[in-house]
């Protein structure tokens, strides 16, 4: 027996399969629980607008009688009932928008056209409409990637795409999403749809493939590489987009393995590939991506950090939403927690986790092996929120994956870490994490003056690429490439993609021992000395 529940403020009805949990059903609809959903934190509070559901003991403990009477419940405890309606707007994320979608202009062009830049992220999709004549961003929209309903992380989506039906679902979902966003941008800005001639999409390799309709099976197993990661051009007509006039849609090429067009866009944004001196670009996420290089040489790698930086796999972990501890500092030997929104802490997000562990190390509550030295085996943060031993372990794995990846690329290029001029931190987490805490836990083994948070470089690069694509593409190339669109090239991008060498960390024995080594925390807060490779 299936049943229906209503979700506000979206005013949507969800149909649940028999026995399906609320969490799964919401997820399927692209709505993620803000917390672990294990009745530990009260992070998933919802207001019942319609339906009679008795609170259970955990809920009675958590809420006041008044709250209960006005319908407050914990979503993780709720058994779905037919016809019930829930209000979930309190789950809204903190204003991540400024980082994810900065609206810096690009160089004005002379063409009287409008173009669209899309950052197709695993979690969030951001699209911007630009006036190419002025270079200004006219309008921005962002949405959760609706593919999340088929798997939160990339690997589970790749797994889901292994049968034809799942593959088609993922392809259509992401195409429909992009199409709807483009349509919204055009219509909300009131410009003539016929003046929009191009959209440029950037995403990781899996997003590149799924949007382009290319099989992702090669990404599911060793050596995790694909030969179809080139620049793609599709027509809006073949994408089945309604309400959008004829439009060329470009998908930027991948750099190798899991390192996709979003990282290529990052290079365009940071100009790392044009500098004489060597710089590093790091995107800290579930899949960490790293590029090291200069105008002569570029080397990239991806490294599986897991979800800890996003609060995933952490007992009281949650996204950076209201009620999350997002920063912790030491004041006179006492921990001071900053909580998002005007409320008490109910969990901790990635940036808070890194801070808390850095403070724990300073206080001696955590030793360099990661062991909690306190009797109670906890790092208490507020009266309700603490870190467990396993939480520290999760962070150790995540930071080791990144630190070992960076170290190995440096060794590969025979560059010392001191010689790296800039360490560009891309992505939301990289912008929210406190740099000195990241240094303290050994996530970034660099000095403060090297590290530069640079925002959403994927989107910045996509905007810059809007100007690039214009004069190079012609129909003849398209004809010649009809059988293999990989042959369609843009010289500016080709210059980069041909130079970049992808290094497969997983296949390197050196990586494994480095990884183990990097799970440890630095002994003291002094800047770690760089030890050259022997």
């Amino acid at each position: 027996m299936s049943l229906r529940i209503g979700i506000e403020p979206q005013s949507r009805w969800l149909t649940l399969a028999a026995g399906e949990s609320l969490r799964d059903a919401l997820f399927r609809a692209g709505i993620e629980f803000p917390c672990g959903g294990k009745s530990l934190c009260g992070g998933c509070q919802v207001q019942l607008l319609a339906g009679e559901i008795e609170p259970d003991t955990a809920e009675k403990e958590y809420f006041s009688a008044e709250d209960i009477a006005s319908g407050w419940r914990l979503a993780c405890r709720l058994k779905p009932q037919n016809g019930m309606r829930l209000r979930i707007e309190q789950w809204q994320h903190r204003a991540a928008a400024p980082i994810l979608s900065d609206t810096q202009s690009i160089e004005p062009g002379c063409e009287e056209t409008y173009r669209i830049a899309i950052d197709l992220g695993t979690t969030t999709v951001v699209a911007q409409l630009l006036n190419m004549a002025t270079g200004e961003v006219l309008s921005v929209v962002s949405r959760l990637n609706p593919q999340a309903a088929y798997g939160a992380d990339l690997m589970s989506r790749i797994d889901y795409a292994r049968n034809d039906e799942g593959f088609a679902q993922l392809v259509n979902t992401v195409r429909d999403c992009a199409g709807a966003m483009i349509s919204e941008l055009i219509h909300s800005s009131g410009i003539d749809s016929a003046l929009v001639d191009r959209a440029i999409l950037v995403g990781n390799t899996a997003m590149h493939h799924l949007f382009s309709g290319i099989d992702v099976a090669p990404l599911a197993s060793v050596p995790f590489s694909t030969i179809h990661g080139g620049l793609r051009r599709l027509e809006s007509a073949e994408l089945g987009w309604k309400g959008v006039d004829e439009l060329a849609v470009w998908v930027l090429p991948c750099l190798g393995g899991f390192v996709g067009g979003d990282v290529l866009a990052g290079l365009l944004a940071t100009q790392l590939h044009r500098e004489r001196e060597t710089s590093l670009l790091v995107d800290l996420g579930t899949n960490g991506e790293i590029v090291l290089g200069n105008r002569q040489q570029l080397i990239c790698a991806s490294t599986a950090a897991g979800p800890a930086f996003e609060g995933g796999g952490i007992l009281m972990g949650m996204q950076a939403a209201a009620g999350a501890i997002d920063a912790v500092e030491l004041k006179d030997g006492e921990l001071c927690c900053h909580v998002i929104g005007q409320q008490s802490a109910r969990g901790i997000c990635g940036s808070g986790l890194v801070d808390a562990v850095a403070c724990g190390l300073e206080l001696g509550w955590i030793d360099p092996s990661g062991r909690i030295t306190r009797e109670d085996k906890r790092i208490p943060l507020t009266s309700d929120v603490y870190l467990s031993q396993q939480d520290i372990r999760q962070l150790q794995l995540a930071k080791a994956a990144i630190a070992a990846g960076i170290e190995l690329l440096c060794a590969q290029m025979a560059v010392s870490k001191e010689a790296v001029i800039n360490v560009f931190l891309a992505g939301a987490f990289g912008n929210y994490v406190d740099v000195s805490s990241a240094m303290r836990i050994g996530l970034l083994e660099f000095t403060q003056h090297q590290i530069k948070p640079v925002g959403n470089t994927a989107l910045q690069g996509a905007r810059l690429a809007l100007g690039l694509a214009s004069d190079v593409y012609d129909e003849q190339l398209r004809e010649e490439a009809a059988d293999d669109t990989d042959k369609v090239q843009l010289p500016e991008l080709t210059a980069i993609t041909e130079k970049v060498v992808h290094f497969s960390l997983g296949e390197s024995q050196a990586f494994q021992s480095l990884f183990i080594e990097k799970t440890k925390f630095p002994e003291s807060s002094a800047t770690p000395e760089y030890q050259p490779e022997v």
Binding site: A220, S221, S369, G506, E507, T519
Partner: protein
């Protein structure tokens, strides 16, 4: 009585190895010393399970054990040589190259006197089957961190069944992505995320303590 087991438990490498040498010089039996080393390693395993110890600690303990075993080796008199408790074949199957967990498992098996043959990573199903014929293990351990390698594992277990090799062995699957469903899918005998539990299962199956 010495505190060798405790020194190993506390990962005091130099002191532990010094103690081994001291006790050897004192004419103590290799078996008694080895037993203490194993007791220490068992504690390390427990502490790892409890979250007190982490990967680097586990690797360090394995190194200490290896060094201790190397010191003892020349003193083992052939008649005294302990018979291996059983034979274990380990592999990470085609499609997967992760072997951190498998390497830890191999060490733990060796600590518990198993003879271990490790085929490495990205192993073809036919190579596993061939090795079952050649090495004649009691246990086959399949390690996985990527779900796609389940397909090649399935090919291997089907082939073992087909060639009538399945009944003589116990198959274990382990690794972060494995679930009880994977155990059923592969027709395996045991599934775990925990190397210590895998070794305990085999010790038990061999009627050991």
């Amino acid at each position: 009585m010495s505190n060798l087991d405790q020194l190993i438990e506390e990962l005091k490498r130099d002191e532990a190895l010094g103690e081994v040498e001291l006790r050897l010089a004192g004419g103590e039996s290799v078996t008694a010393i080895l037993d203490d080393c194993r007791a220490g390693m068992a504690r390390v395993g427990e502490l790892f399970q409890e979250g007190e110890y982490f990967l680097a600690d586990l690797i360090l303990s394995a190194e200490i054990f290896k060094s201790a075993a190397a010191l003892l080796e020349p003193h083992i008199n052939p008649e005294q040589q302990q018979k291996a408790l059983g034979k274990v074949l380990l592999a990470t199957m085609r499609g997967d190259i992760h072997d951190l967990g498998k390497n830890i498992l191999a060490t733990l098996f060796r600590v518990h006197s198993f003879e271990v043959h490790d085929l490495g990573v990205n192993v073809e199903p036919e190579d596993l089957v061939q090795e079952v014929k050649d090495f004649q293990p009691d246990f086959v351990g399949i390690s996985a961190l990527i779900t796609t390698s389940f397909e090649s594992a399935k090919e291997a277990t089907d082939q073992l069944e087909k060639e009538g090799l399945r009944d003589g062995i116990k198959i274990l699957v382990g690794g972060a992505v494995t679930t009880p469903e994977v155990k059923t899918y592969l027709g395996a005998d045991f599934q775990t995320h925990d190397a210590t539990a895998g070794v305990a299962y085999c010790v038990n199956a061999m009627g050991g303590c």
